[in-house]
């Protein structure tokens, strides 16, 4: 079946209507079904909590953002460096890439207690967990992207006597950029997950800690408010990476 394309108003309005209708249904259904507020609060109650407890929530969000942000930088930087090492050392790649893939199959949730055990209860283990969650997808994607240069493109660079450095910046890097940014966008949201998982297991601050504590204390409104804030953080991280990608593309197109 073919549909006519959406108009601009529809493209903006329909998602808003969709979200609002679900929120309205939630707001109405929770009391209608007799679900107590300490199990599932209504959206308005969550909003009210966000308004009242914003200081407390923000003071817990800041460490989570820090851990997620540092993990994002650490994990992705190491992934890109290792991907470059793989591309320029086929033997190194043959030896270690399978191990990397094997590590990638371990769920971070299972790995988190081990990392807490090794690194203790500070900020570091959370950063490491957030970094780990970013690391593997970016490594795999970047290694693949750097290898996308075709044989005749590499021949062209050779005939032009391009140095290894020039071939990397003029050919391999632009080839891999779309894949790198795709995995950066994914890890913008997953790094927040990594930080929160780390805080679940061993922390008394951060959104993860708030989530665990308010669950045990039946503070459902605070729990939901923390979840909303966590989701919002992921969206902001994602938007920031998307914006950086846009700027990068414009710069790159400008100078060629």
């Amino acid at each position: 079946m073919r549909h006519r394309p959406l108009s601009f108003t529809e493209a903006i309005g329909l998602p808003v209507i969709g979200a609002l209708s679900l929120l309205l249904a939630w707001q109405w259904l929770v009391p209608a079904l007799g679900i107590p507020g300490y199990i599932v609060p209504t959206p308005l109650a969550i909003l009210r909590t966000l308004g009242i407890e914003w200081r407390f929530l923000l003071s817990n969000a800041i460490p989570t953002w820090g851990e997620a942000g540092l993990g994002f930088l650490l994990g992705n930087s190491l992934a890109v460096i290792l991907a470059v090492a793989f591309v320029y050392n086929p033997r190194f790649q043959a030896a270690y890439f399978p191990v990397v893939l094997l590590f990638n199959t371990i769920p971070v949730l299972a790995l988190a207690p081990i990392i807490i055990l090794i690194f203790g209860l500070g900020m570091l283990p959370k950063v490491i967990i957030a970094a780990l969650i970013c690391f593997f997808p970016t490594l795999v994607n970047t290694a693949r992207g750097l290898n996308l240069a075709t044989a005749s493109e590499l021949d062209l660079m050779h005939v032009l006597s391009a140095s290894g450095w020039e071939t990397f910046w003029r050919l391999r890097a632009p080839r891999s950029a779309p894949l790198l940014f795709a995995s950066l966008r994914i890890s913008a949201t997953t790094c927040v997950i990594g930080a929160i998982v780390g805080e679940w297991i061993g922390s008394n601050q951060g959104l993860g800690a708030v989530i665990i504590q308010s669950t045990f204390n039946y503070q459902a409104e605070r729990l939901f408010a923390a979840v909303v804030l966590a989701s919002f953080s992921g969206i902001v991280f994602y938007a920031a990476v998307a914006q950086i990608e846009r700027i990068f593309r414009r710069l790159h197109q400008g100078q060629g």
Partner: protein, 266 residues
């Protein structure tokens, strides 16, 4: 087979063998090549599949080291000539970088290889784009161009190197006949204006006759030189011939016969 030409040769080979030197075994694709290509000559290369047409070009471009014999490019080794930017290559697929505009693609030779190129060239991508008739498309991206336009860009990029030798590996092989014939004329025009030596690999017998001053016919299994035929008797004073003329057709028939012989030997 060796044809005697003026001593100012662009390319000289003696008993040249090219192929792939593997760890286990060496694959000889082409061997016993004695060839001398004069400066400013337009040599077309014909041969059945697998005879080593492309391999010969790759050896001259220093993409493949000679296994045996001698290869001199402008009196130097292929590697030296490449580092001095004396040789440019046009690939069958235009090999344009998709994230660069036409102008940026043509300017690529100015941005890479800076360390190893002692010779200076004029940075004038717009001039070369104009020469191939694409000035109005200079800010387009490769995906916005037709196949023929992309090959023109690839030629402009090669010309930006201001090469003494232009190697072309079936550059028009994927184009329709009308576009191909138009590009043939444009290429002859560029050749006359720049005085570049051109080695042009093709599958088309007519194209080989139309473009070349001489045609080198290779045979397969094993790859070797089968014939080297002078085409100047077919050409008028401007170096042109009519594809439909009787003597062109006769030469084409003769070349097709040679190709058939060259592909059947085992």
């Amino acid at each position: 087979m060796r044809a005697d030409l003026p001593e100012a040769a662009a390319i000289e080979t003696r008993d040249l063998a090219v192929g792939y030197a593997g760890a286990v075994e060496t694959t000889r694709i082409l061997s016993g090549v004695d060839l001398s290509v004069g400066k400013g000559e337009f040599l077309t290369i014909l041969g059945p599949s697998g005879c080593g047409k492309s391999t010969l070009l790759r050896a001259v471009a220093d993409l493949l080291p000679p296994l045996d014999g001698q290869l001199s490019v402008l009196g130097r080794t292929a590697s030296e000539a490449r580092r001095r930017r004396e040789v440019a290559f046009v690939f069958q697929d235009a090999t344009l970088l998709p994230w660069r505009t036409v102008r940026e693609n043509v300017a690529l030779p100015l941005q890479v290889g800076k360390k190893s190129v002692p010779r200076s060239v004029d940075p004038r991508p717009d001039h070369w784009i104009e020469l191939v008739g694409l000035s109005h498309l200079a800010d387009r991206y490769p995906h916005q161009l037709s196949g023929g336009q992309r090959q023109r860009v690839a030629i402009a990029r090669a010309l930006q190197c201001e090469p003494d030798i232009l190697l072309m590996d079936e550059p028009f092989g994927a184009l329709d006949e009308i576009t191909r014939e138009r590009l043939n004329d444009e290429l002859l025009d560029v050749w006359r204006r720049t005085g570049t030596t051109i080695l042009f690999v093709t599958h088309s017998v007519i194209e080989a006759i139309y473009l070349g001053g001489r045609v080198l016919v290779l045979a397969a299994n094993p790859g070797r030189v089968q014939a080297l035929i002078d085409l100047t008797p077919l050409k008028d004073e401007r170096g042109l011939c009519r594809r439909e003329s009787l003597d062109v057709q006769e030469t084409a028939a003769h070349l097709r016969q040679l190709l058939q012989q060259g592909s059947s030997t085992a």
